[in-house]
């Protein structure tokens, strides 16, 4: 057994290591803590949003080892050892000489007015970076389809696709 939380019913915590936005952290977590709740409630990384808590909206999207997933449907203990990037860490990923501190996709969202209330935006941004890392979506239709896991109640979809298209064609994905 690699890990055993111990005796039946003990309200134990488990020691895990996560690298969050480039910072390595040793944490003690209860096994039922979702990655989303760990980020928001324990680590004060409230950029990642809780929309539905059931995998139906994408507001909680983060990158785990560069891959986008719904942080509401995974337990923090299961990601022991992983690198997590949240919206707070995107700028760090995108930093280059002579540029300001935003990730290109963040700049493009501003440029294209790709949000209104902004609630879905952290998830949309992380999802966009995940989409570009995957490298499968090329056409507008494909981008729309590959972004369908992020619901925007304000309906900023068209501008979001514009922003992604622009950054994709600059080849600026990390």
């Amino acid at each position: 057994m690699l890990i055993d939380s111990g005796s039946p019913g003990a309200v134990g915590t488990i020691g895990i290591t996560l690298t969050i936005n480039g910072e390595r952290r040793e944490l003690q977590v209860a096994p039922w803590t979702t990655l989303l709740d760990l980020l928001r409630e324990r680590l004060d990384l409230t950029g990642t949003k809780k929309g539905c808590d059931h995998g139906q909206c994408g507001a909680c999207t983060v990158l785990v080892n560069g891959t986008r997933i719904n942080s509401c449907l995974t337990l923090a203990v299961m990601k022991d050892g992983a690198e997590i990037t949240t919206v707070e860490g995107l700028a760090g990923l995108g930093q280059r000489e002579g540029k300001n501190s935003l990730h290109p996709i963040q700049e493009a969202f501003v440029e294209h007015d790709a949000f209104q209330c902004g609630y879905c935006t952290p998830g949309q941004l992380c999802s966009s970076v995940g989409l570009m890392n995957e490298g499968h979506a090329k056409t507008r239709d494909e981008i729309r389809e590959a972004m369908s896991g992020n619901i925007c109640r304000c309906g900023a979809y068209t501008n979001i696709v514009d922003a992604i298209e622009e950054v994709m064609h600059q080849g600026d994905a990390r």
Binding site: P31, R68, I69, T74, L75, S127, A137
Partner: protein, 337 residues
């Protein structure tokens, strides 16, 4: 969510042993179905056995086909070069399901074992024979738009929600499992069950067994196939009706026909008689309509899902037309050609 213990085995034997030792334990892989159900208290495991570190994450050549490890993610499977080239029907069906984020997390084994999306199954305040045997079925006479039209019982009318499984049924995959009694292989058609009078059991997996792999047979359908999924919105929604169709043609004559339906029954629905009827026939709309009529002859509507019978009829005909023409449904351009 209830409180639970957590273990992380490093080998399949340890995982099987941990499950055998604790009937209240559950495996967890992607977590996208189990954690959802735990948040509704539909599942309340005493212990989670995290199987994500088991060495079951590879796709390998096997007997002319491919062996897919149970932990291969839905995304890795759909985009694998060998799968795209040799089993495009499977790739297409996976990409028709869920969202990119969910497919990145969801595992092959977990996809087979995902539970129904019946609203009452999720709602612990209502009776449900699947969740609590003997309490009754709230969906019969209730809201049953997404429920079965084929193979249901008076105990349960739930459907199996998977897209991937519909393609695996058409491809005649085999499920490899390991358990306290050793290893065994389950033909896909025998993996999922009809509800009958035991709707709490979705599958024929025995207590304590783990899925280790799915085997795809050597026969591929690389030209004449389609996965056509009809639903309430164009993406990120479960199927009302879906069709996996795969044909081998000799000119316009059908040599082999495989047809599986999703969203209509407690398991991916196949009808051997209809497939036999197609064989040797010319690939025309008339032939396809005859097959659809045969499949739906035994269909029974519930109070609010009668429309699905006609929807299924049209989807079968259109799916077979797409397969015969070699113009599979695109999963990004949603126009149905």
């Amino acid at each position: 969510m209830n409180r639970f213990d957590y273990v992380r085995p490093g080998t399949v034997a340890e995982a099987v042993q941990a499950l055998g030792a604790d009937p209240a334990a559950r495996f967890i892989a992607g977590g996208t179905n189990l954690i959802d159900l735990m948040k509704y208290d539909v599942e309340k495991p005493g212990k989670l056995i995290d199987i994500t570190r088991l060495p079951l994450g590879e796709i390998e050549e096997s007997d002319g086909g491919l062996r897919i490890g149970a932990l291969v993610t839905n995304a890795a499977l759909a985009y694998d070069a060998r799968i795209k080239e040799r089993y495009p029907l499977l790739s297409s069906a996976i990409l028709a399901g869920a969202s990119a984020q969910l497919r990145n997390a969801a595992s092959t084994g977990g996809n087979l074992l995902q539970r129904t999306r019946c609203y009452y199954f999720y709602d612990t305040a209502t009776p449900c024979n699947k969740r609590e045997p003997g309490t009754g079925c709230s969906a019969i006479g209730g809201v049953n738009r997404i429920h079965a039209i084929l193979g249901a019982s008076d105990q349960c009318i739930a459907t199996h929600p998977s897209d991937m499984c519909v393609a695996l049924a058409a491809l005649e995959a085999t499920v490899q499992v390991s358990g306290p009694q050793g290893d065994r292989a389950i033909p896909f058609a025998e993996f999922h069950r009809l509800p009958g009078d035991e709707p709490s059991r979705d599958t024929n997996l025995a207590p304590g067994e783990i899925i280790v792999a799915i085997d795809l047979p050597a026969q591929t359908f690389t030209t004449h196939y389609t996965y056509l999924k009809l639903r309430d919105r164009l993406s990120y929604a479960f199927a009302l009706v879906s069709v996996a169709a795969a044909l081998e043609l000799d000119g316009q004559t059908i040599r082999t026909a495989r047809l599986a339906l999703g969203g209509v029954a407690h398991k991916p629905w196949r009808n051997g008689e209809a497939e036999a009827l197609l064989q040797g026939q010319t690939a025309t709309r008339k032939t396809f309509e005859a097959a659809a009529d045969l499949i739906l002859r035994e269909a029974k509507p519930q109070s609010t899902n009668g429309f699905k019978i006609e929807l299924a009829r049209r989807a079968i005909v259109r799916g077979l037309e797409q397969a015969a023409a070699g113009t599979p449904q695109s999963q990004s351009d949603k126009r149905i050609q």
